[in-house]
């Protein structure tokens, strides 16, 4: 009964095209944001920060990036893990080479470096598409991880081959290193996700976003009506890698504090992020975030409910979780190829008319 547009009259195109066209939705959004900024930081503890919030923010950024490339521009990528590694190692090199730089600039710069690498590995997309491109991105994944492992310069020749984030502060508050307060890292990552989700949302409904979608729907037709495939594809690769690079930077510097290339950024990460956007919804900003939340929460819930509360053996729970994940992906593709975001949209449509059928 609450979700109605009755009594709201739009007098401009701008109002008509708003992200949240119905007032109650807008209020709902801002109240969630207000809770996230004003309430949660006072209650967040280490467990919630490390197990739920930071993973969600980090993977949310990565999922946004991959969704821009795969969901909006139609270029399937399996190289997410590799690009996250670029972001992480770029952050490490920047942090150790320029100790004076603040973390926001470092994260943005790492994103830019990753964007450059992404454009380079996106070049083949001008010639090849579909599965072929997926294999090309696998080349990026395996080559980058190998490079970060073998070439000592990237990890400053440390004996363990690991990289670990030195301590950095902003406004007197530690953001990286061992002495961070959960609320600080929470707000830092939340800020990144909020700002860049907003940027992404506005990118995809602008000129660039529409050219991406034209390429996705049919690249040859798009080319004929005047969309430049070179610019569209490469800009999608650049923006996508920028997001993924920032996500890798936050993953390494803020969330984990240390990383080892083969473990942290393996092909499994690429698949996980891909699952996020499949389950959440290809071609949807909200879907990327909800998918990330879903994949982040699934193991936590599984662990707490099945192992913790019901007393399942850990190994059975792990296998059951894999089966469930695979089954969910198949189920979603069959029932709703556009993921939770589409379900949400349908639910809202139904809610507008409820309790009447038409």
């Amino acid at each position: 009964m609450l979700y109605r547009e009755a009594g709201e009259f739009k007098t401009s195109y701008q109002a008509d095209l708003a992200t949240f066209p119905i007032r109650i939705e807008l209020w709902g959004f801002w109240s969630v944001m207000a809770v996230a900024v004003l309430v949660v930081p006072f209650f967040v503890n280490d467990y919630w920060e490390q197990a739920i919030f930071l993973p969600f923010f980090v993977y949310g950024l990565a999922a946004l990036g991959l969704n821009i490339l795969t969901g909006y521009c139609g270029q399937l990528s399996l190289g997410t893990g590799g690009f996250m590694a670029v972001g992480a190692y770029a952050t490490y090199k920047l942090m150790t080479s320029f100790p004076g730089l603040d973390m926001i600039s470092i994260t943005l710069l790492s994103g830019l470096i990753t964007a450059g690498v992404g454009v380079f590995f996106g070049l083949p997309s001008l010639r090849i598409k579909g599965f072929y491109l997926a294999v090309a991105t696998l080349a990026a994944q395996f080559f980058l991880i190998w490079m970060f492992n073998k070439w000592g310069w990237f990890y400053n020749y440390s004996a363990s081959g690991q990289i670990s984030a030195p301590e950095r502060t902003m406004f007197g508050l530690a953001i990286t290193g061992p002495y961070t307060h959960p609320a600080v890292t929470y707000l830092f990552c939340f800020g990144f996700l909020f700002v860049f989700a907003w940027v992404a949302r506005n990118l995809v409904r602008g000129r660039v976003g529409r050219s991406w979608m034209a390429i996705r729907d049919m690249d040859i037709a798009a080319e004929i009506i005047g969309v430049n495939p070179l610019m569209s594809k490469l800009s999608a690769f650049a923006v996508s890698s920028f997001y993924i690079g920032m996500s890798g930077a936050l993953y390494f510097a803020v969330w984990k504090g240390a990383a080892e290339g083969t473990e942290a950024f393996s092909i499994t990460v690429s698949f996980n992020v891909l699952f996020m956007i499949i389950i959440g919804g290809l071609g949807s900003i909200f879907g990327s975030l909800i998918g990330a939340a879903f994949i982040v929460l699934l193991p936590v819930v599984f662990k707490n409910v099945f192992v913790g509360a019901l007393g399942w053996p850990t190994d059975i729970a792990t296998h059951a979780q894999i089966i469930l994940l695979g089954g969910l992906i198949i189920g979603f593709l069959i029932a709703e190829p556009h993921g939770i975001a589409a379900l949400w949209r349908t639910a809202k449509e139904k809610l507008r008319l409820w309790p009447f059928p038409h």
Binding site: L76, P124, R127, I128, G130, F131, Y132, A134, V135, A136, L138, A139, Q141, F142, F143, I145, W146, N149, K150, W151, M218, I220, A221, I224, I267, F271, L274, F275, I278, P313, D315, I316, H319, A320, Q321, I322, I323, L325, G326, G327, L328, I329, I330, L333, I334, P337
Partner: protein, 334 residues
Amino acid sequence: MGFLTDAFFYEVLIAGLLAGVMYSLVALGFVLIFKSSGTFNFAQGVLALFAALTLVGFMAGQLPFAHVINWLLGTEWRYWYAPPGVEGEVPPLWFVLLCIAMTTAVMIALAWVVVRVVLRPLVNQEGIILFMATIGLAFVLEGVGDLMWGANVKRLDIGLPSGPSDMIIDATGMFVEKIEISAAVVAIILVASLTLFSQYTKMGRALRAVADDHQAALSVGISLETIWWIVWSVAGIVALVAGIMWGAKSGVQFSLSLIALKALPVLILGGFTSIPGAIVGGLIIGAGEKLFDFYIGVPFLGGATENWFAYVLALGFLVFRPQGLFGEKIIERV
């Protein structure tokens, strides 16, 4: 070209070619399914793992889902029959063949389930959706396989010759594993029979018709579902062969499913629709990565280039010939 007279060159080359045969075995399954249903089957590697696990399970007389059953019922069941033969030795041939037959039956049943549950509801979806569905399938199969037979590394010994071949060592001084030679022989037999099957049998013709055009094939009375079932069964059997070969070489373990990823560049080189292409692609990739690692990777780049060389080679190749060596030319219309 001093290295051409180098004995190492030939040894590395042959080792690479034989490793390539192993990749080809996995790639073959991909090609079969891609040709007939346009589905890029990511689960092929896991299928091989699942087949090998099932075979090992049957050969040991392991009780499926023993772990779950014991946990639920509080029992200590492990085996439901004792395998014949002396423990620790190769079991008798009839038993091995029986187990292979049973595993084949399981793979055929599995193919039916996959077609029913996954493929049928996804008819007419885009290729990329089907591809992602097979990623989901790979996860399900991996989980089910582990739950059914346990996740530990298993030895698979069905009496294939193993160890280095003395004959070749005596004749040329090169070190070649017997199991890899067997794999090459098996691959040749497999390709020959698959080619004969698809060229000269009625069923094969139906398969090719479906591959050509789903709707046209449907309209002349070919049942898509039956065809898919057959194709997935054949792919399952090819996966079993690949699983046996890989399992005999390096044990049955999760990393088996990762060779599926290595089969991707093989497919790219050979073309997604060509059976001989899968073989040639596998040989090129296998030999290429071994030689590259030996001559450039280890001396100059710090080694372990096998991780990525295949993909980079495929990538370089794609830029010049997007349809692969033997693939059909891609023609696009609006």
